[in-house]
Assembly symmetry: C2
Homo-oligomer: 253 residues x 2
């Protein structure tokens, strides 16, 4: 039974991509066959593993084309057990391309069907919006992971995300579950970070992962070398914390 | 002649809101009549100055309603010379509401016309996307300010923003100028930050402001107290840097 985890939060810069790339790498290290699908037109997950020149077709072609199968846009990463579906800026046109289509919300779910069974985990990175792209990722997923930065603007936007989640659960994807809320970019030295982390715990209770991802320069640097935190800085706090997150994720599915 | 500055970059979490609120406050401190327009459905600029309960109608009502004038949604901030046009999540519906409208791109510009002359500066905060909301802000503006975080993913997305800028300049708003590129969240102790800052200088040359905004906890904390950096921590690096930015902005208009 393939687990499909969408990582979403419309607040920008909260660690969606950093979580997607390192959780996918941690699961691959545990010898789970993992597919990382980049549904963000910015393509940050894509450039964390693949060289730009190696990419020809992307997720946009598989979602809108009539001849391109999803299989054709899957790239093998340098890591064992990890494959990547890249994204390019053309994906930003998805919403206007699919306007009015009855199955617009189901495109990703339908196209993933042909490869889904080959993987133990599918991780989907999303852009900082709640439009058709993110809705597609929520309809295709079995689980939703919500990264929240422990900072002032963080809690403001979660109501809207939960409202979108309810809409998705009520009709296109009733089985969608929140696998957990992840506190990211945490700086335990500041009262603001501690205060907001406390508020996140109060708002989401047991849903909050015990693992908290602290701010660490190694996590910021590793994508520049096309590496996950595990090969770039295996003994760093980031490596330990994302490994611990992967243990919690596996315990919850 | 009113200067209208839109702050945009579709990369999330790069300091658009932090720049909008503190640049607006700095200009107000220089006794320039300043209007801060929040065009982000997340409403982060709004909650940095206004109490949620005090807001009835928002920018969405003025942009889509037939009876609500823009004047009616202008709120006075606690700061002299500063007024705020608040945003609420309803603004996320703007794109689907205006689809097919010939003047969809000009809505903000048209509605601002009735108040524009009352202000010396209008600062517009935008969401992390390049959709109709941000295009409206670009069509309404005389200048574009681009904040870029000195971090790995930062430079990837700027091509798309510049492409959107060219499209806006070619038809709806030929006079739009880039007033400058601002390096934000800079940490001079790390090689990554220094390397990316160098790349930003090489890519944008003279457009880059001499002022660089360093990472500082005071900038993260001040909105939680509904204050700008100038009243919250007047002697902090953030206050000095955003004041220095306001000097450069005024020298360039
Ligand atoms: N734990 C961390 N420690 C230090 N830096 C981090 C951490 N997590 C993320 N970052 C950095 O913060 C910035 C934002 O993170 P990231 O790009 O992963 O967020 P995002 O939510 O995917 O952004 P977007 O909304 O644009 O998609 C990046 O520069 C990233 O390298
Ligand atoms: N110079 C700085 N020093 C420390 N923290 C900062 C600085 N600038 C911004 N921040 C913090 O970084 C986070 C992102 O900043 P901000 O919300 O202003 O970015 P944004 O581009 O408006 O995000 P979005 O894309 O979601 O609109 C916030 O928590 C903010 O408080
Ligand atoms: Mg991202
Ligand atoms: Mg913002």
């Amino acid at each position: 039974m393939t687990i499909v985890i969408t990582i979403a939060n419309q607040k920008g810069g909260v660690g969606k991509t950093t979580t997607a790339i390192n959780l996918a790498a941690a699961l691959a290290a545990k010898k789970k066959k993992t597919l990382l699908v980049d549904m963000d037109p910015q393509g940050n997950s894509t450039i964390s593993f693949l060289q730009d020149e190696s990419i020809d077709k992307s997720i946009y072609d598989a979602l809108t084309g009539t001849t391109t199968q999803l299989k054709e846009v899957v790239h093998k990463a340098d890591l064992d057990h990890l494959w990547i579906v890249p994204s390019r800026i053309s994906l930003a046109k998805l919403e206007s391309k699919l306007i009015g289509d009855f199955d617009a919300h189901f495109r990703l779910r339908d196209r993933l069907e042909s490869v889904r069974a080959e993987y133990d985990f599918i991780i989907i990175d999303t852009p900082p919006t709640l439009g058709l792209i993110t809705v597609n990722a929520l309809v295709a997923a079995s689980h939703l992971l919500i990264p929240i930065q422990s900072s002032y603007y963080a809690l403001e936007g979660t109501d809207d995300l939960l409202e979108t989640l309810d809409k998705v659960k009520s009709r296109p994807n009733p089985d969608l579950q929140v696998i957990g809320v992840l506190i990211t970019l945490h700086d335990k030295r500041t009262t603001l970070s501690r205060d907001v982390a406390q508020k996140i715990q109060e708002a989401f209770g047991d849903k909050v992962f015990k693992t908290v991802i602290s701010r660490s320069i190694r996590l910021e640097e590793s994508p520049a070398y096309k590496e996950s935190i595990f090969s770039f800085a295996p003994h760093s706090s980031g490596a330990f914390e994302y490994y611990s997150l992967s243990e919690e994720v596996m315990a919850r599915v």
